[in-house]
């Protein structure tokens, strides 16, 4: 590690000089590149893996942690968000996030996915250039339809993560409205800022390989706002709110872990060594974080719990997300342990000290884990993994990069936090956010959906 640190520090200065030229590679619109069979096959696979993270992965992870009377409602949230965001993304979300537009938002040139089949002729296809015609244009060797679908699954899981914060008490109608608006007003802009070659955080040099800011900090802070605005669950602090079936949660966490290979290794948008490294560090960081949480809990609370080890694993997956594709295995162990231990204290101690009811720890795990990962990416990034012919030094970690990461984290926290807050207040005024006390006590399954577990 010492060796790596010295190297990364030494490389921090050239980075500043290289950062601007790095985006000057393709100035004029270019002919679409050929697509690569291997890359495309891997991205199709990754897309399916990431969708599996939400349904059934996250649905089971969350569904297993709530009380019996709310299991179906919680599964329903993930499933409904999947459907709602699919349509939202198709209509405008993708266009706003990934077309050139300006520094702050894309345009409507892909409204209703208009033009996404333009490059298909005689049944054949080509890859496409993200940010075509702009200085930061990125050539992808997969067809745009594949890239659009891959990104759609990210747009789906992000709002679904928020649902953990308001579990057991939000009206289904209010949730649907909130998620559609949040997807358009929070997710698409932040995805544009960080990942579109015209985005201002992208051009500021932010490193976010698979969504530490765009997905996890974003969902985490929005979740915290939900928990604060909706208030605590009835009986919080004295009623028994033990999970109904942790076995569901274990299955869900395991599906998340497997699906996350699509999330992180898929974010290489290629089947190559960088994807392989992203997969390796994902596995290593996750195991480190699971053990970190487990041992921390064992020492502090006396027992290594099942809920603890799976929570730690998810915290590790979250933290390695921005770093995968930028860091080496040694750094991933440090990122994992840091995430496991810090998220353990956030979810078990900080939350109780501050007194908010983030029911399933969306903020404690995704918000805090995302911040840990995004910041440490700036410390441990290994230049050669992100090097290109025009930027042979890549983006190595160091003080300069750390400051860039801090800025991206801060911007995400503020935008997502403030817009989420506004949306919640408006929806509360118009249709009300929370079910009545009686309905909450009876349980969302039967009250909202007319069904219940036997």
């Amino acid at each position: 590690m010492r060796h790596l640190r010295l190297r990364t520090l030494a490389a921090a200065l050239p980075l500043l000089l290289l950062a601007l030229p790095a985006f000057a590679q393709t100035a004029a619109p270019a002919k679409p590149p050929a697509y690569d069979h291997g890359d495309t096959a891997w991205m199709l696979t990754s897309t399916a893996l990431v969708l599996m993270m939400t349904i059934p992965g996250l649905a089971l992870f969350y569904g297993g942690m709530v009380r019996k009377k709310n299991v179906l409602a919680t599964l329903m949230q993930s499933f409904a968000i999947c459907c709602l965001v699919t349509i939202t993304w198709t209509v405008a979300g993708y266009s706003l996030a990934f077309t050139n537009g300006g520094a702050y938002i894309g345009d409507f040139s892909r409204f209703m996915l208009n033009g996404i089949a333009d490059h298909i002729s005689l049944g054949d296809d080509s890859g496409f250039i993200l940010g075509n015609g702009t200085p930061g244009a990125t050539t992808l060797t997969v067809p745009e339809s594949v890239y659009m679908m891959f990104q759609m699954t990210f747009a789906i899981i992000t709002p679904a993560l928020i649902a953990g914060a308001f579990a057991d008490r939000m009206k289904f109608s209010a949730m649907c409205v909130f998620m559609v608006l949040w997807s358009l007003l929070v997710y698409s802009p932040i995805a544009h800022w960080v990942w579109a070659p015209t985005g201002w955080l992208f051009n500021a040099g932010t490193l976010d390989f698979a969504g530490g800011t765009v997905v996890h900090i974003n969902a985490g802070i929005a979740g915290l706002m939900c928990a604060l605005v909706l208030g605590k669950r009835v009986g919080y602090g004295h009623d028994n709110m033990a999970p109904f079936n942790l076995a569901y949660a274990v299955i869900g966490a395991s599906l998340l872990w497997v699906g996350w290979f699509g999330f992180n290794a898929g974010s290489a948008v290629a089947a190559n060594g960088r994807a392989g490294m992203a997969m390796a560090v994902t596995q290593i960081a996750t195991a480190s974080a699971a053990l970190g949480w487990m041992f921390a809990e064992w020492m502090v609370k006396g027992k290594p719990s099942v809920l603890g080890i799976i929570s730690g694993a998810v915290a590790g997956l979250v933290a390695i997300t921005p770093a995968s594709g930028y860091v080496l295995p040694g750094a991933s162990i440090i990122i994992g342990i840091a995430a496991g231990v810090i998220c353990f204290f956030a979810a078990t101690t900080l939350k109780h000290l501050l007194g908010y009811d983030d029911s399933l720890d969306t903020f404690g795990v995704h918000g805090i884990g995302g911040i840990v990962g995004a910041l440490l990416t700036g410390v441990f990034s290994y230049g050669p993994l992100s090097a290109t012919s025009s930027s042979p030094g890549g983006s190595p970690g160091g003080l300069a990069q750390f400051i860039i990461q801090c800025k991206a984290v801060g911007v995400t926290l503020v935008w997502s936090g403030v817009v989420s807050l506004i949306l919640l207040f408006v929806i509360d005024l118009v249709i009300g956010l929370r079910v009545s006390r009686e309905e909450e006590v009876e349980g969302l399954d039967v009250v909202l959906h007319g069904e219940q577990l036997g």
Partner: protein, 112 residues
């Protein structure tokens, strides 16, 4: 006839059944129940939230037997369900007025 009702630790059920069969017990009824006695409950911790679980899972056995078997059955249950630790359960013996086998109409001792 007597009804012997025993509340035991769930994992002792098979031991109890094996202890009763040689005595000529022809059948028994088992119910999963929850309750508390001197063992009180236990504490569960989920992400730092501690819950007092005051009702613990137990198994209730009900067996109806002729009067002359009572001492042996009670002794057999006690021997087979005992761990010596708190929470082993209790045995109750009640009088039974009538018994009828539904299939044949046999009554009382013949119905057991």
């Amino acid at each position: 006839m007597k009804l012997v009702m025993a509340i035991i630790k769930p994992f002792k059920l098979d031991d109890v059944r094996e202890a009763l069969t040689p005595l000529g017990v022809q059948g028994l009824t088992v119910t999963e129940v929850k309750g508390f006695g001197r063992q009180k409950g236990q504490t569960e911790i989920y992400r730092g939230a501690e819950y007092q679980v005051s009702f613990l899972p137990k198994v209730k056995i009900e067996v109806v037997i002729p009067d002359d078997l009572v001492e042996q059955v009670v002794e057999a249950i006690m021997r087979s369900a005992q761990t010596g630790k708190i929470g082993d359960g209790k045995i109750f013996v009640l009088d039974v007025e009538r018994a009828v086998r539904i299939r044949t109409g046999e009554t009382d001792a013949a119905a057991l």
